[in-house]
Structures are given as structure tokens and as C-alpha cells.
Symmetry: C2
Subunit: 291 residues, 2 copies
């Protein structure tokens, strides 16, 4: 599968010697970054970048680099999210979180460095794209990841613990916290390929549908699955007093919504025929996964 | 002074409504970001960007935007540096630090958002530069701020508390922690202007000299000034067991070095004649300031 190459690329980037313009790479910091990234993640976002780009026969190496950059952003957000003052998690994928394996200060810096590295990777000429596309990708990623996207969503999530948001509030929170990066992943494929604006918009819409389905499936699992199936504590959201759309409207409503989102996602890719088969399967998988 | 416009630009950027690609801007997060940025900072780095760009008659608006972006990076680094698990500072410029005025999680997110915003500002077409220059600036800033630059320097600084570095170690630490961003500030002016590589290198060298002088002057003040003059506790480095070049070689050696650095910085700007007068004054000021 194409996404296996992302793993190799991430390792290569994090193992590299200092690049032009860098002075030294402190080993403890690099080790913490590797710990946070090379941890057996599912690589959903890189998969979406690489497969979306392939839809338009984009340069594979460029897509790989952008996919790696996006995964750095995703992993930085998990490292900071796990910190004691945030979600305070000791384990991720069965391994100690970065602040547990190292310390809190190192975890903050490792996250900061990974976010910075993401923009480094995209802007570098080694991402074999015209400067115009590299700048467009930097901007789109910054908007998806920043105060008006992922980080803003994390802020809303923190506030939701104090004041339960209404349905519109939950939708905004989720579109920002998890939706924005997944939307970017699909849109990025079209940007890498230099696809026309209409295709870029279509892929972004596809990404939004997947993002919604991803979150809804997660909430549904939290509501219905037993702990054995999930490999982690369930009903965690309810226990934390967090409202989700699934808890608000119940599991039947959620399953109906998921069905609709799959249909919508598939319809968006119909114009691309056979070439979109893997992406369509991904949409179905995301919406129906059982763990 | 040209740099006053940076203040206005920073306020405008942080007060703006959500931009294209953003969903919403949570008010608490934006307030924390404003608290960390609009705090009466000296704006040394923006000054260096704007004046270096002016040396080559660069577009003023573009220089202003890059200056604002760089200040966002500087301020994010201070917000994260002040956190309990890092330097644990309650006050900055006489005001509560961001985690004191808000809370720790909000401070982490505000820093993350400011770092992301910096790349947003530079990559945006509103920074009236060809895409090639925007991509070059993103890359140079990422290298100066990331694991091989500022963040790496903060990591070395943390490690220096456990194991005292030797002279070479101190030089590397300082070149990364404070030097890299100041070097970038001066280099950025030349990039904004599209100046030839030789000028870009010359301005970067000037930035390195200023960065060294800035740190050495700071260490010298810590060693010799009394608390009244500094408006803060002095001999803080020695008390913390931190070795500096000034403490290693003594104040006379430090003054001699500073004199040499001023001469070197001025000589680097000689080719630009009268136009470089303000930058030369800045070099002298940085090396001889008494608080």
C-alpha cells in the first residue's frame, strides 16, 4: 500500500542530520519527536493525502512529503493533548505518552518542533512542487491547524467541560478539532496535483464528510461498544460529561447519519470512476469501523 | 519609526474575523494570544526585519507582515518558556504570564496557535511577495525556529540545568536559543527584497553578530548590574547554576568581545552607506544597553 512509504519518509526525516540553516539537533528532543510520531499510528490522514493525490496522478514523492508533514501536525497535537494540563493521558497505543517517557517540558518542545517541522517539510524544494503550490499548502495547513481550526477546536473542547455546548456548538467544535485536518488531507491531494479549483473543492467536501463520519463513528462506539472491543475504557465521553451528537440523538440516529455520510462521500467521488475505489472504501471503513 | 506600524499590524491580525478556511476563532483563545503578543515588547526582531528590508528598498507592507509573523514566533516561545514545567515564571513585563492570566492549557494552545499563525501570515498572498519568496521565508523561519534552531536551543538550555555545558556547548546553545531568530530577522529583510544571495548572506552574518552581542550583553548585565537598574533579580544565571560566557571569562573579557562584535556588525553594513545608519545604531544599542 502506498501509505507504507509515509512511514519510511517520516523515519528518514526524523533521523536526518541537521539540514542547511540548522545548527544542531539535540538527541533527546529528536528522540521525543520520534517517540511521538513513530508509534504505530493508523496514518489515516497520510493515506487520504496520498490517495487523493493519486486520483489526479500527482507526483508521488510530493504527496508523500505533504502526507508526512500532515502526520507531524497530527502527532504534535496528540502530544500536547496528552499533557497533564490538557487530557492528562499516561498511555497512547499502549505506550507511555511523550511526557511520561521523557518529561513535560520535553513533550511541549517536541510538539512545538513537530509543528514547525511540518511547515519546513512542505516549504522545502525537496517537496517537488512549484513554489506557488508549496505556499498554497502552507497556508491551507496553517488555517486548518490554527486558532480557526484544530487548535481552536481544542480550546472549544476545554471550554465544553465547563459549559456544555448546544448542538450547533458541538458541530462547530468537532468540525474544528478533528474535521479541519481531515478535510485538509483530502484537499491537499488536489493541491499537490494542481487540480482545478472545482476538484479541490470537491475533495475538500469529501474530506469534510469523512471527518464528520470519523467523529460520529467514534462517538457511537463510545456509546455502544464494550471495553473489550475498543481496547480502552468506553462511555468515557458520557463519564466526562461531554455531549456528543450520538449521545444527544441516540445510536439509531447516529447509524442513519453515518449511512447518509457514506452515500454523500461516495457520490462526491463518482466523477473519478474506478480510480476512486480505495478512497471510497476508506470512507466506508471510517464510518463503520468497530474499534 | 517604521516599527510602530508592526504594532498596528499585529493588533489588526489578532482582531480579525475568521479568514477563508477558518471556521471560528474562540474568543478565550484569541484573548490569550493577544495577551501574549500585545504586551509592550521591545519588538527588536520586527525592527530588524523592517530596517533590513528597507536597506534594499523592499515593499514596506511585505516587510511589515514578515516582521509581525516573526514576532508571533518570538511571543509563542516566551509563552511556552514561562510555563510551570519550563521556566515557571508568573510575571513578564510586570503583567501576569499567559498561564497565570488564563490557565496552563490555554497558554499551551495560545502558543501553538501563534506559531501556526506565523506561517499563515507569511504564506498568505496578502504578504505581497512572489510565491517563491514566501516559500523561502517559510523554510528559513522553520529552520530558525525548529528542532535545529530555537526549540532545539530551549532543549539544550533545559539539559544545561542537569549537566553544565562546556564553552563550545554554551556557544551552540546560545546560537540556537536566541541567535537563530535574530539572524533570521536580518536575513528575512534581504529575502523580502529579493536581494542577491551575497547580500542575504551578509545580512544573516550581521544578524549573527547582533544575536551574539544581545546574549553577551544580557549575560554581562546579569553579572554586573544591580537589581534596581535591571528592574528584576540579577545574578539569576549564577544562582541557577547556569554557565555563561561572561561568567566564564569575566566582565572585562565580555566588554572586549562586545566591542569587537559592534565593529564587526558595522563593517558588515559598510557597503550600504548612509542607508544602514539605523541598523548600525541598533547594533551598538543592543551591545551597550544597560537594562
Amino acid at each position: 500500500m502506498r501509505v507504507a512509504a509515509v512511514e519510511t519518509e517520516l523515519r528518514r526525516i526524523l533521523d536526518a542530520r541537521p539540514l542547511s540553516g540548522e545548527i544542531a539537533r539535540p538527541e533527546r528532543l529528536m528522540a521525543a519527536m520520534r517517540h511521538g510520531v513513530l508509534n504505530g499510528g493508523k496514518r489515516l490522514r497520510p493515506f487520504l493525502v496520498v490517495e487523493s493525490a493519486a486520483l489526479f496522478s500527482a507526483d508521488g514523492q510530493a504527496a508523500l512529503r505533504v502526507a508526512a508533514a500532515l502526520e507531524c501536525v497530527h502527532c504534535y497535537s496528540l502530544i500536547h493533548d496528552d499533557l497533564p494540563s490538557m487530557d492528562d493521558d499516561d498511555l497512547r497505543r499502549g505506550q507511555p505518552t511523550v511526557h511520561k517517557a521523557f518529561d513535560e517540558a520535553t513533550a511541549i518542545l517536541a510538539g512545538d518542533a513537530l509543528l514547525t517541522l511540518a511547515f519546513d517539510i512542505i516549504a522545502d524544494e525537496a517537496t517537488l512542487l512549484p513554489a506557488e503550490r508549496r505556499a498554497t499548502l502552507v497556508l491551507a495547513l496553517a488555517r486548518a491547524a490554527g486558532a480557526g481550526g484544530m487548535v481552536g477546536g481544542q480550546m472549544l473542547d476545554l471550554e465544553a467541560e465547563r459549559k456544555r455546548p448546544d448542538e450547533a456548538g458541538i458541530i462547530t467544535l468537532q468540525a474544528m478539532k478533528t474535521g479541519a485536518l481531515i478535510r485538509f488531507a483530502c484537499e491537499a491531494g488536489a493541491i499537490v496535483a494542481g487540480a482545478p479549483p472545482a476538484d479541490r473543492e470537491r475533495l475538500a467536501e469529501f474530506g469534510s464528510a469523512i471527518g464528520l463520519a470519523f467523529q460520529l463513528a467514534d462517538d457511537l462506539l463510545d456509546l455502544t461498544a464494550d471495553a473489550v472491543q475498543m481496547g480502552k475504557a468506553t462511555n468515557k465521553d458520557a463519564a466526562a460529561g461531554k455531549a456528543t451528537l450520538a449521545s444527544l440523538h441516540g445510536p439509531d440516529w447516529a447509524r442513519g447519519q453515518l449511512h447518509g455520510l457514506i452515500e454523500q462521500a461516495h457520490a462526491l467521488l463518482d466523477p473519478y470512476g474506478e480510480a476512486a475505489e480505495l478512497l471510497k472504501q476508506a470512507a466506508t471503513f471510517v464510518a463503520t469501523r468497530s474499534n
